[in-house]
Symmetry: D2
Subunit: 401 residues, 4 copies
């Protein structure tokens, strides 16, 4: 085994850290004070331009498409650095759901789709969204989706109800998961179809108020209604009925990115916790750092973050070598393992800060609110645990329940 980081990757990471410190972290307070993504639009654009100039743009994409061409395990390390701020991935144009959409389009787009949808995304000229989740269907069982795309000549006519569509506000287009053949076997029912956000019949009902905020732009989650939305069949990505297969493609690498983003957040929280413990005095000359409870939180957090990172890097290494299918157990495991570590570390960092930790004077309260979702999205942790166990138990002769 070799746990070392090659020098070229170290150089990339150093560059990323530079940009984060100089351009991204300062945007956090601006965002907090101005209160919306739109209000910091020019500053975000300037940061993105700088990233492009530094050739750190789209680290996850091939160089041919204009990205850095980093292999998965290396991009994982970059993703950790970016995850230190909730704005990091956006500034480097590798934010969800656009990164996943680019990935799918890079693999499956027709030349026309590539020209019209992928390249503007890569350039950062537009944003997109991915409309899969539905309010009436358990996210853990997407084969029950109710949104339909009915074939009508050369078109599909789409009807349905979606929500938690991240970044729909201001997006140029959505990739919509819709049932094209209700009679097919569960995993062959749905297709992924590109729908321009200004298509007639597509209504953005609201930005859902999540943990107290409706958000705006990329930083929002919308409820969408599709009522007789007509798009050409040429907007379908891949084969009809391949919706879940294609969704799987994006899931593996997406999980790695997310998990490393969480670890970036953990490291930021950890540093804030240590700094607070060191500087807060309980009485003159007696810092909070002398309390054993705080020491225990620091040691446990250090151990858990290190363990989480090794788990994710191992999963990325395995996926890179053997493919997403071979690594599916590891991919499920990092979902719940890292989400759990994230929640514990952020909670301890808040407790160490006392009342200050509840305020928006630090990024911790934001991590606390918005990353509660980590244990829910992409399927709740409980579902992944059952999946992992059932796969293991098949090796012991157990038929699935």
């Amino acid at each position: 085994m070799d746990f070392s980081t090659p020098a070229p990757l170290e150089a990339v990471l150093a560059g990323v850290r530079d940009v984060m410190t100089a351009f991204v972290l300062p945007l956090e307070a601006l965002y907090a004070s101005r209160g919306s993504m739109r209000a910091i639009g020019p500053e975000l654009q300037a940061a993105r331009d700088h990233v492009k100039a530094r050739k750190l743009w789209c680290p996850q994409l091939t160089t041919e498409l204009g990205g850095m061409g980093l292999p998965l395990a290396s991009h994982a390390r970059v993703s950790e650095e970016l995850g230190r701020s909730m704005l990091g991935h956006y500034v480097f144009n590798c934010q969800a759901p656009d990164a996943g959409n680019m990935e799918i389009l890079a693999l499956f787009a027709t030349p026309e789709q590539r020209e019209r949808y992928l390249l503007p995304l890569v350039a950062g000229d537009v944003r997109s969204c991915f409309a899969m989740t539905e309010p009436d269907v358990a996210g853990s069982n997407p084969t029950w989706l109710r949104t339909t795309a009915r074939a009508d000549g050369d078109d599909y006519v789409i009807d349905g109800h979606k929500w938690f569509t991240t970044g729909a506000d201001g997006a140029a287009f959505a990739i919509v998961m819709a049932v094209t053949d209700a009679g097919a076997s569960p995993h062959a029912r749905a297709s992924q179809i590109i729908v321009p956000m200004d298509a007639p019949g597509l209504t953005r009902v609201r930005n859902i108020s999540v943990m107290g905020h409706e958000g705006d732009g990329w930083a929002s989650h919308s409820e969408l209604r599709f009522e007789g939305v007509r798009v050409p069949k040429a907007n379908r990505i891949g084969e009809e009925g391949a919706g879940f297969l294609i969704a799987q493609e994006r899931l593996g690498p997406g999980r790695i990115h997310h998990a490393m983003r969480w670890i970036g957040m953990c490291e930021r929280s950890f540093e804030l916790m240590c700094a607070r413990a060191a500087s807060r005095e309980l009485s003159p000359g007696k810092p909070l750092a002398h309390k054993q409870a705080v020491q225990t939180w620091i040691a446990d957090s250090r151990a858990e973050i290190d363990a989480a990172r090794l788990m994710v890097l191992h999963a990325a290494w395995k996926m890179q070598r053997e493919g997403a299918y071979a690594a599916r157990e590891q991919i499920s495991i990092i979902k719940f393992f890292v989400a759990d570590v994230l929640q514990k570390v952020v909670d301890r960092a808040i407790q160490t800060h006392g009342a200050l930790g509840l305020t928006d004077d630090t990024p911790l309260a934001g991590f606390y609110r918005f990353e509660r979702a980590a244990r829910i999205y992409d399927g709740p942790d409980e579902v992944h645990k059952s999946l992992v166990a059932r796969r293991i138990l098949r090796g012991y002769g157990v038929e699935s329940s």
Copy 2:
């Protein structure tokens, strides 16, 4: 032992539940949609008028002052019912910090203070705040307060910096904890002094943004500056140097109210969790309630909430019979025990709701954000645990560390 509820108390509780259902719960959606306490002012007032008419006003106060005259353990039961909504206590005029201020003033006010400050509070005509916490001093060690009240003839001149002063926005007056004799023994340094909010030199710097919200009116926490604020010595409550002694008085009953309020929130969350488990289908005919993970959350929550309630009622019973000093171990214990149960129950209820639990379409996300504070205010849990243990260990001959 007798765990039964006397019939007259049952009748009171039934009345309170009526009002909660008919008047308070409907205000929640209104508050969420209009976005501020001020914007629902008339509706709040109507609900309060109804409570007065039903003779359920100020359950914690003596009948002589216009309250219901409930003993502590009975008010505890009422407090649970009110706690089901974050607006409950406010509508019944027993919300913190006004309830604590009334309690202190009822015990220690001079006739003039009573007339000018207590009676308008009891009537619900004004609100007040309690300015103790300071940003530069660990809340767990209030003897290090830096705000000073310098005697100058018949006046005090107050200088200092406070924050997390709940309800300062719109309050008529603050009760300020300030050092009147820095040379005294730690617990005799400070006094409590009434300061009108419009006193020259008193600035409300901001409503602190807490978990994403600045809030307004009673539902806010302010940062305050005192710069040469002059008030007559007649505004002091009780003896000079008695600030901590008086603060202790409010702490015991206040802890009971808070803990029972948390239990009300637990019960509301519990019901939402069960209802969601029953209604959410994973596949046709297969509700979430069939999953063992959810069953475990329900059973653990039921057990923990029941345990928490018995603990608080026992502490109230002991405090009522033997006084707050005799019950100080129980009072410290319920602080951390119930706060822990609250956090776990709300977390499970959110997880049971999936994405919906993150939205503001249910009260859960609000409980999650705002009650993270439960483990911090009135001294972080860790401090209370050490206090309890050190008191116990004195019985084994251990001098405090």
Copy 3:
């Protein structure tokens, strides 16, 4: 609510504590050094004689039968005192499974059964056992029992395989749960039948080695084989097919006794933990008690033990007033709630003792080993949690899964 202890009960408890201190605790070291129950037989007998002389014998039985006639909630308090030592209940003749057997026989025995089996048990002249658990059947689902009692004229002929039959070694008779009608509805299949231990065809295969020990006498758990064991039908307790119904009768009070016994063990462990923290020096003048980690264990343990006791006493109060059926939710809850507290408290007490906690120089290592069973016997905790949840969820319209 009234949490006070009546004076007569206080007097009983004081008497019990006396005997425990003077007679029972000293037997522990003797048992450890001599290594078997048989080897301390005379000393145990002397202690039992003393208990009889003090009129503290069989606290759970009616005075008419020669017991103390304590109501359930009062016996619960006695049971806590006895639980401080693993020998306590035995010395007072209220140990499982004899206590449960006496209870059943007191309710259902025929005059002959009473004379021949119950009275010698009450007198302490013989011991008994209860053979229900089978190695091949999940304890959580006793309706699947495989041991059969075939009617043959006036006799039953019993065939089957039992294990974890506590106290079979040296018992005079067993009460055996056996299927008398395999075709009946699940809960009407089995009957309880008295079988003398010397009946031909009944073999005690072994005392099972549990956590390193086979034990002996009452302090052992046996594996039994029944091969054509013939007993008269007159040995059946109650109606044919009433086995589960009768088993339920013993379960409720039995759960209360066990839970209070665990609380006694918790209190003993708690005291040992505090005493160790106070006396162990990390460096001269710096006791272990000064470490915040230990303080946290002490505070959490204090809180949890107090909560557990209130839960059990509330369940006992409810069962006494409304019957076991009405209190079945509380009875299931205390099973898993108290077992969890027990495991945590004993674990912390051991950790506080360091290497000493692992030795048999204190009772902690014994509590640790033998009470791991608490989370398993009478149905594993997980089963009880599902039971409780399903009962609650029926109120929300959920059919059982």
Copy 4:
């Protein structure tokens, strides 16, 4: 990063697994039934002879000394395989404390010490012990040791009281940590001195009864008294006062071996848990494996064991490349991290087995009893957590408390 296992190491591991399956696992039942190490002496010897013949003897030692010459990270992998049985390390002659003693002697022995003490150990002809822990001194603070070695001409005269001296029963010699200069700085007070077990004045008081067993031979922990025990100064290992320095040398690799041994135990428990879940039926055709609670245990265990292994292998890799001092944070972390995983995995495996898990019919009850020590020996987890945190906090400017 590269997580692959080189082919030669795979071959070694396959060989070790062979021997474990064919020779070591069958010894477990024999040991259980015969009840002592002495009683299975011939069988143990046969297994050891086989290991020698297979050239798998002393994997941790240099080939020059007759070992396999495996680097630390590779021996770690072997150690996991051996750890699947409590007898594994013994059969391969790399059991604690002999492995550590060989390590020290290999580094520091004089030619005479090498000849007389090291070579017979390596050959497996004798066993040794390491007498450091004292009953009256907190293990976490060994600088307070009270055992003294007074210089007297060419001899030391040793007086003191030790306990938890593993394997003293039957050992040929002890390495004793004793204070040679009480006036020196704390870490320069003690020296390590070889004392033959038959030296006059050295009494083995008892094998301490630990978790119910005194054990025998290597599988025991003794209490020792030194009363005027005289040994030549030539028996000192290394310089006078170098006792702690030398002890540090053995600690780092020892921690790796222990942690991997625990992981071997985790894997064994995991497999037993899965096999039991698969084979145990709750009702016909419905295996325990279908229960979500069990699935959750399996998934969590899989995740935690994988994380633990990566942590230990990373620590071994770092220690190998940069030395024990550079890796001291990782070494402390794996101590508490892996011990915690071990306790959780064994506990879940027992719960999955129900009553069977409490018996000695599986190795689980043994793991449960004897590995409770994992959180205590080599310094309790709490001490390591504080150490790790204080080291981290120094980077934030905090002086140690």
